[in-house]
Assembly symmetry: C2
Homo-oligomer: 469 residues x 2
């Protein structure tokens, strides 16, 4: 097999680095700070910096890097903006971080076809700024201003997924450099196809382990004629979850439906200067025509009332709406303010929506029993929620306590037919949970695919699964 | 490699057949008629019957069949209802057709989660009959009453795809027997996941070449509170296509938008006793609340009028609506009535919607120039259309003429950034078009995956691509 299981020798790395510097000049960086920043992610997992960081300008330069690394069996770690959460960007075997932040071309926008073609370094906010003049938008919103390439890699989703789906639903086609240096195109620009294996969706969520994505064709949507947003408190999590289930089940086309538990509400009130009732709340958003969103709002208000929730308060002015969603997006930072000086351990699970209330309730009970602080926010329309545990990783007992909480959370999600990650991905942090989740046959099939496409294991090794069972 | 490139010997087949008969009794059938019926599809491709047909009752029996065949390197062809169109079910190397029509259990319906778990032999109509009492439905509708397993295999879509997506968007998880006899589960029941490679979508559309699907978890939808349908004539195809584009672009959530050209309208009028104007028409359907569908209808009528179409006639009564869609579904049979005694050569392509009018116009010109009869129907909201060419395959000149027309159609679709198949799949009929469409790197990647998962090439060999470039 020749699988890579250890770090390349210092000689190999220094020869490769020299060659990369000769070729890329100051676009090949080896300073400690830049290397650490590229291994570093928004995570509690220890930093494992790459040996060098290269900033290519185009697909041909990526091919060169892949060939130079491939010949020497040196790992390649594709890098977008570094906002991933499970150690996806760490370099446990060293290697070269391929930072695509110079690749920000929006190659084409096709308004009639509701699609666009972009390079991987474009961030979602940059794309949406560009699209505004066309009256179009790209809905996937994981919170962070992630790069489109990174969002492909982790199969990102976020607050809009309940209505618009995840990256798997919104990538029409990809171009990628394979481990052998060949450039693959996974599909044409047609909106649907039955032509062969779905390589597009094999690449989406593969976390850089099968190739470096160099071009992405995305579905777009017309900016809604009308948007309305609002906040609705509930007596408890169960009532909020039940309201969500009822809204989804009756076909209410809600664009966003986000749960914040009372701990998260308290944090957001303090951090974002809001005055929400300190109870579980749902943040909602509806897209449609003026008449449509009014009808949807009315219907949701009725559902909420039926379940003891409310009053449902509408943010009709765009600035109030922005303030709400900014508070939601700043939830991560707000959490930190609850215990200054420590970083949150952020995790996510996803369960069938009928199990959501139970899963959250049991999790909150466990958090309390362990004496921890851990606000919950959730994309509840999908059964997906996040736990942000505040603890000091330098205190061994705290770390052990958090790890036990997180393992328990995933076991609970598995028991409820759920997944260890709805949207963050596996990276390094969740590798051990994949086999309990999917079984040996699934893991072995993934390994077979990885070995077939990347026989020398140069693409982001040490992520998702180990090559040996 | 040990790749299968020729038919197993008669001795191997007869020994295997004996063993299968011993094990499965009269659920292993070798009569000429049944074998031919299982190779036979709704296609012009010559019949290549399997050596035997087995009707397993459950996943364990499928494992036994796969092991018995695998040990002898005998091909396995999974069979649903036989409604595929591109020779997917033919047995060019002989082997065993695994007919799942005994596997019709609806294992679970989870109304709160809007999902269900079914065996592969359940047909879409059987499923929807069962779901009606829950107020739920499964939207994917390829016309034929296909099995869910077959719809997974070909990545089916159909009239509702513009609103509800295709099979890739509506399968949450699969269980399948792999070529090595292991049973793989591709995902949990959660609505979204970022846990590892997307094996679900790798299996969807793999046409039985990677395993036999034994269990499917599907997304469901609440039956719409209100449905309205209607017909709108247009002066020409371009106006109809432009109205479609405008409807999609303005975010009109149309559930179905189907084009019939004037030739198809004539056929449907005759066959289904309608009296539509003999012009290109759009059949439309809207799902939503009473107020919502009325608003949508009004908006579409305005769009149509702006483009010189109309009048837009509504079928408000359920029986009129049924009659319309029955006529649409019977389009294939109606076509035959245009030239009794010959079978239609049915094909489909899909292009970006902005190119749809051009693609159809050029195709119609080619049909006329060749003196052929070939009605067009299309799922135009997706840029997908079907051509049904009426010709006698026993007349060599006619056959050559049709083949040239179909090749030209696919070249045209490729030139317009489209695909050789939007929903029928590749099977045998479109194998040669896959490499021009996706390039060598994509085909080689598919081959690597196939060889890794099915090293002896026992799963539906001779479909989608050849193992050697």
């Amino acid at each position: 097999m020749g699988s890579l299981t250890s770090r390349p020798s210092a000689e190999v790395i220094s020869a490769l680095t020299l060659e990369l510097q000769k070729r890329f000049g100051n676009r090949c960086v080896t300073s400690q700070a830049v290397r650490e920043q590229h291994g570093h992610t928004t995570t509690w997992i220890a930093n494992q910096p790459p040996d060098a960081v290269v900033f290519p300008d185009d697909v041909e330069e990526i091919r060169e890097i892949v060939k130079l690394c491939g010949e020497r069996r040196v790992p390649i770690i594709p890098f977008g903006t570094g906002s991933s959460l499970e150690g996806h960007l760490n370099a446990p075997y060293g290697g070269v971080s391929v930072d695509v932040s110079n690749m920000k071309k929006i190659i084409a926008v096709h308004p009639e076809d509701l699609d666009c073609v972009v390079e991987p370094g474009v961030t979602r906010k940059e794309l949406n700024d560009y699209l505004r003049s066309y009256g179009l938008f790209f809905p996937i919103d994981p919170g962070a201003d992630a790069s489109i390439g990174g969002m492909v890699a982790t199969r990102a989703s976020g607050t809009n997924a309940v209505r618009y789906g995840t990256m798997k639903d919104n990538v029409l086609a990809l171009e990628a450099v394979l481990p052998n240096g060949e450039v693959v195109t996974t599909a044409r620009r047609a909106k649907k196809t039955s032509a062969g294996y779905d390589l597009t969706r094999l690449m989406v969520g593969s976390e850089g382990t099968l190739g470096v994505v160099t071009r992405i064709t995305l579905k777009l949507y017309g900016l809604p004629e009308a948007i309305s947003a609002g906040v609705c408190p509930f007596p408890d999590i169960k009532a909020a979850a039940d309201a969500t289930i009822m809204a989804i089940q009756t076909g209410l086309p809600v664009a966003r439906i986000e749960l914040l538990d009372e701990v998260q509400v308290r944090a957001c009130n303090a951090y974002s200067k809001l005055s929400l009732p300190e109870k579980p709340v749902l943040f909602l958003e509806f897209h449609g025509t003026e008449a449509g969103v009014a009808e949807q709002a009315q219907r949701f208000a009725e559902i909420a009332e039926e379940l003891g929730g409310g009053p449902f308060e509408w943010a009709t002015r765009p600035e109030d709406r922005s303030k709400l969603w900014e508070a939601r997006h700043n939830a991560y930072w707000a959490v930190m303010s609850l215990r200054p000086g420590v970083k949150p351990f952020a995790t996510d699970v996803c369960v069938p929506i009928s199990r959501l209330a139970d899963c959250i309730a049991e999790t909150k009970a466990d958090v309390d029993a362990r004496g921890l602080i851990a606000p919950i926010v959730g994309h509840v329309g999908d059964g997906n929620f996040h736990l942000s545990v505040l603890a000091d990783p330098n205190v061994p007992e705290e770390l052990a306590n958090v790890k036990a909480l997180l393992s328990g959370l995933i076991e609970r999600a598995h028991r409820m037919e759920g997944t260890c990650t709805g949207e963050h991905g596996v990276g390094q942090g969740k590798m051990k949970y994949l086999e309990p989740e999917l079984g040996t046959a699934a893991l072995d099939t993934m390994r077979l695919i990885k070995k077939a496409i990347d026989p020398d294991n140069i693409m982001n090794p040490g992520k998702i699964f180990t090559l040996q069972p």
